[in-house]
């Protein structure tokens, strides 16, 4: 379970001066749920997810993962989650097996149980042909599979996908979405950020639309459609953002 409360993050920036990448966002995501963070590039999605995975420290506000505070108990938080993002690459000079094994060991899993779990995982994700292939020689889709295996090798209750389908071809992206849905069905809490509305519509149980570090709207897809009287999510998204832009510039 994820509880985010009034989270802010400020940066010093040459062009914009002090600017808030996150300006007080709050949301909750439950186990067995895919929670979608929707927003254009630069909305603050990655910043929020980096704070949740303890890579960044918030300027103010709190975020808790399964009850562990990201600032006070970063190590416990990291044990609770798996993180897959466009920025989490695989090592070029490591095979698929070595890569997943390395992270499994870092999560503190003993060699024997780890081997068993990995055999299982490699079967499930159909990546046995990647066992002895070096990361540098893999295609983008293969790398993404290894990344997912790496992120869930310790069976975490929470998995974060940050723009995980970016740069993938249709087939691989579809397979990835399927894996995400399966993970949800196993009772995991999934945080899924994207700027592709179709993915959100297909996958997410609940979404938050983020723009300029703020949540503009939040709820299940049904609720949002009802609330704004717009059946098409993409249309809804566009309207919300243009309205907010107009308010900012006014």
């Amino acid at each position: 379970m994820i509880e985010v409360d009034q989270l802010t993050k400020h940066y010093a920036d040459l062009r914009r001066g002090h600017f808030a990448a996150l300006d007080g966002i709050s949301f909750r995501a439950e186990p067995g749920q895919i929670y979608g963070l929707l927003g254009p590039n630069g909305a603050g999605k990655t910043t929020a997810l980096r704070i949740l995975s303890t890579l960044l420290r918030p300027t103010s506000g709190t975020a808790r993962v399964n009850g562990f505070d990201v600032v006070e108990q970063p190590s416990e938080v990291r044990h609770q989650l798996g993180f897959v993002s466009v920025n989490t690459a695989v090592y070029d000079r490591m095979t698929g097996w070595e890569m997943v094994e390395y992270f499994g060991r870092l999560y503190g899993i003993e060699p024997e149980p780890l081997r068993e779990r990995m055999e299982n995982l490699f079967d499930r994700l159909q990546m046995n042909e990647l066992r002895d292939q070096l990361g540098g020689k893999m295609s983008t889709g293969m790398k993404q599979k290894v990344s997912i295996a790496r992120a869930i090798v310790h069976d975490p209750p929470l998995v974060i996908f940050d723009e995980a389908t970016a740069g993938l071809d249709v087939l691989v992206a579809r397979a990835l979405l399927q894996t995400v849905a399966e993970l949800r069905d196993h009772g995991k809490c999934i945080l899924f950020s994207t700027h592709i509305m179709r993915e959100a519509e297909k996958l997410c149980d609940r979404v938050a639309i983020i723009h300029r570090g703020r949540i503009l709207a939040e709820g299940t897809l049904e609720q949002l459609r009802e609330q704004y009287g717009e059946p098409d999510l993409e249309e809804l998204f566009f309207q919300l953002i243009s309205r907010h832009e107009a308010a900012v510039h006014a």
Binding site: G17, S75, F83
Partner: protein, 716 residues
């Protein structure tokens, strides 16, 4: 900290590096090929240079005497040149134009000079006309024992040019041949006058090398060469893996993967550090081995060279561990800062520029291991290593604790820096922003904060030091007080106060806070002045210790003496204004105002105080003054932080600088008139010295007063 994680990270990084062809080439293949190749070419080139004949034009050969012969069959006579076939190294040429019927051509010396100048010959040898006749005359004179009258022989000349190396070699060879020949002439002269040849050589000097008993042959060379090579390779071996392990991971996007894993930042840093250290050490060892092999094969065939003994390998190995640790941590921190491998590689040259002088400085002749040197990181270690290689075990044992302590401290600081880098978001997630100078300056101005940033404080400190350095060359004080005053005042106002004031106005929004201009608690100012008085004997005693450890050079001592005399001759109020009041205001504004306030944003009070004190110390011209000034800087920095105000520091500084100016005015008569003073201090060769109990008691009182300052909290 989880050691399993460190081990895991270490194992992964090592495997990763070993799978990288570039790394393997750099650490293993390059040295194995490089040194044998270098050794071979060095050997061949030196052979080539030695064997190459030089051409010499001999002018006036017809003026040479028949006995003893100098030239036979168009070459120098055998036996005049040392070594086998030595005479072949000088190719003799004779002017083709036949001398006139009388055997004289007056332009001969000019022709010889011209031949060398034009580069036609490497050197020219000229024998003046009637050289043989004059020589014979002098011989006759000797035979008739008329040697009181000085015989004026015409001088032969060698023409050569220092602009060409080959010409210099020809000159050296000619010189050698001619002195041999002169010796022969001398022998024949002596024989003619009936004297024993030993008259000219009453004794000869017998050299004896005792290196076999104290150290090994060639120790001097190896002892200088090996430590530098060790440092160079330890650094190179650390640098490339460091860049790949940090900047490379950032570039490839794997760093974020690693950071989101349960491994703590410290574990990641230590794992990476150990990897870099391993490669640094392997590189150094392989290179030294390759050098050893080359030396064994190539140099051993040359004269005056000997291989270092096996024991030196032990010393090199022992020293390698801390050297590698230090360089690895430095490289790691720098590489963590770099955004990409390309940017990382740019940092190699600055690193070399900073560390290499520290390593090469000890190679200067006459630099020996002493307390001063052993306090300098790297330099101390190199000198210690040199003493060990030279077999100076007692000297090495004496200073090894200091060197080890300094090296350990440097290592820990460097590791700490690396960990800090890995904990800094702005370093790890630095965006590849295009730097726009104008935009950046606007940002500095627009987004300025009440107090300076750490970077601004450091920049201000460096700016002051650099400008001061150049001022020292540009402006030479005149010998009178007015000139001295002008230079001192200008240094204080323009070099020290102005940068801080300008930066405050430009880049901070609250000059009052940036320069700590708030009024402090009313008691703190007299307390600071009292503290300066109480600490004065201690500072004097410390100064004595420093002068003992690092004596002033005679030149500096004389300059200080001259300044002292200027002070004594000038009106006291002017001296106090110049030496006490002006620096108390200017230096405090810069060092405890702008710089310390900025550095305090690092979050650690003591670190800020110590760094600002180091800047303050370095701004003093003489090293010995710098050491004392740094200590005083710590005290004043403490006052400034505790009271939150600049003014107690100004008061302290004022009293601190005035005390010696006032006390030096004391005469034996004043001491007689004021016996209280006499019970505190004695006058001693132009200065004064406090009694030891006075030093101790005043230091205790000062400590109490400092404790009181420690309980103060700055007003907010």
């Amino acid at each position: 900290m989880n050691f399993t994680n460190i081990k895991l990270i270490l194992a992964r990084e090592v495997r990763d590096q070993l799978r990288d062809r570039r790394t393997l080439f750099m650490i293993a293949v390059l040295p194995l090929l490089l040194y044998p190749l270098l050794g071979m070419s060095f050997f061949q080139i030196s052979q080539f240079v030695r064997q190459r004949a030089t051409s010499v034009l001999v002018v006036g050969a017809e003026n040479l005497p028949k006995q003893p012969p100098l030239i036979e069959n168009g070459r120098f006579a055998k036996g005049l040149f040392p070594g086998k076939n030595g005479e072949k190294l000088l190719e003799l040429h004779f002017p083709s134009d036949e001398p006139g019927p009388d055997g004289k051509t007056p332009e001969q010396p000019a022709a010889a000079r011209q031949a060398v100048q034009s580069g036609e010959y490497d050197a020219a040898l000229y024998f003046p006309e009637s050289f043989d006749e004059e020589l014979e005359t002098s011989r006759q004179a000797l035979r008739q024992e008329q040697s009181e009258g000085k015989v004026d022989l015409p001088q032969p000349q060698i023409f050569y040019t220092t602009a060409s190396e080959k010409s210099q070699i020809a000159f050296a060879r000619l010189n050698e041949v001619l002195s041999q020949w002169r010796e022969q002439v001398l022998q024949s002269q002596l024989k003619a006058s009936g004297l024993s040849p030993s008259v000219a050589k009453p004794f000869s000097v017998q050299p004896a090398d005792v290196a076999d008993q104290t150290a090994y042959r060639g120790a001097a060379l190896w002892a200088k060469l090996l430590p530098v090579l060790l440092l160079l390779w330890a650094l190179t071996g650390a640098f490339y893996p460091a860049v790949d392990l940090c900047a490379g991971e950032k570039e490839r996007g794997t760093l974020e993967t690693l950071l989101s894993s349960p491994a703590e930042r410290t574990e990641i840093v230590l794992g990476k550090l150990l990897t870099i250290m391993a490669f640094s050490m392997i590189t150094a060892v392989l290179n030294l081995m390759a050098i050893g092999l080359t030396a064994w094969l190539v140099l051993a065939r040359m004269e005056n060279f000997a291989l270092p003994p096996l024991l030196s390998v032990v010393w090199l190995g022992l020293a390698l561990v801390p050297i590698s640790a230090l360089f690895s941590a430095l490289c790691l921190a720098l590489a963590a800062f770099a955004r990409s491998t390309k940017e990382g590689q740019y940092y190699l040259v600055p690193v070399l520029l900073v560390t290499m002088p520290l390593a090469i400085l000890p190679m200067a002749p006459g630099v020996e291991l002493n307390l001063g040197n052993s306090l300098v990181p790297v330099t101390g270690l190199v000198l210690l290593l040199r003493s060990l290689l030279e077999g100076n075990y007692w000297l090495a044992a004496q200073y090894s604790p200091v060197v080890v302590a300094v090296t350990l401290a440097a290592c820990l600081l460097a590791i700490r820096w690396a960990v800090d880098q890995f904990n800094s978001e702005s370093v790890l997630f630095r965006e590849g922003e295009r730097l726009d100078m104008w935009l950046w300056l606007r940002h500095l101005r627009r987004d300025r904060q009440p107090t300076p940033t750490v970077a601004a404080a450091v920049f201000c400190g460096v700016l002051i030091l650099v400008v001061r350095f150049f001022m020292g060359f540009a402006v030479q004080p005149t010998a009178d007080f007015a000139g001295f005053a002008r230079v001192t005042a200008m240094t204080q106002l323009v070099v020290i106060a102005m940068p801080a004031l300008l930066m405050t106005l430009l880049f901070t929004s609250s000059p009052r806070r940036a320069l700590r201009l708030h009024m402090p608690g009313i008691l703190t100012i007299p307390a600071a002045m009292l503290l300066a008085v109480l600490l004065h004997p201690t500072v004097g005693a410390l100064q004595g210790v420093v002068m003992e450890l690092y004596p002033l050079s005679d030149e500096v001592r004389e300059a200080l003496q001259a300044t002292q005399e200027l002070f004594l001759a000038a009106p006291l109020w002017q001296v106090v204004l110049l030496i006490a009041v002006t620096p108390a205001i200017c230096e405090e504004l810069a060092f405890r105002g702008f710089i310390l306030t900025g550095l305090q944003r690092m979050g650690n009070k003591w670190r800020a105080i110590i760094y600002s004190a180091i800047f303050f110390g370095l701004a003093h011209a003489i090293l010995q003054q710098s050491l004392i000034a740094s200590l005083v800087g710590v005290v004043i920095g403490f006052l400034a932080v505790q009271t939150g105000s600049l003014w107690p520091g100004v008061a302290y500084h004022l009293v601190h600088n005035s005390m010696p100016l006032l006390l030096v005015q004391l005469t034996p008569e004043t001491l007689e008139r004021w016996p209280v003073l006499g019970s505190l201090l004695v006058l001693k060769d132009g200065g004064y010295e406090f009694h030891r109990p006075v030093v101790i008691l005043s230091a205790l009182a000062a400590a109490l007063l400092l404790g009181w300052f420690g309980t103060r909290r700055p007003r907010t």
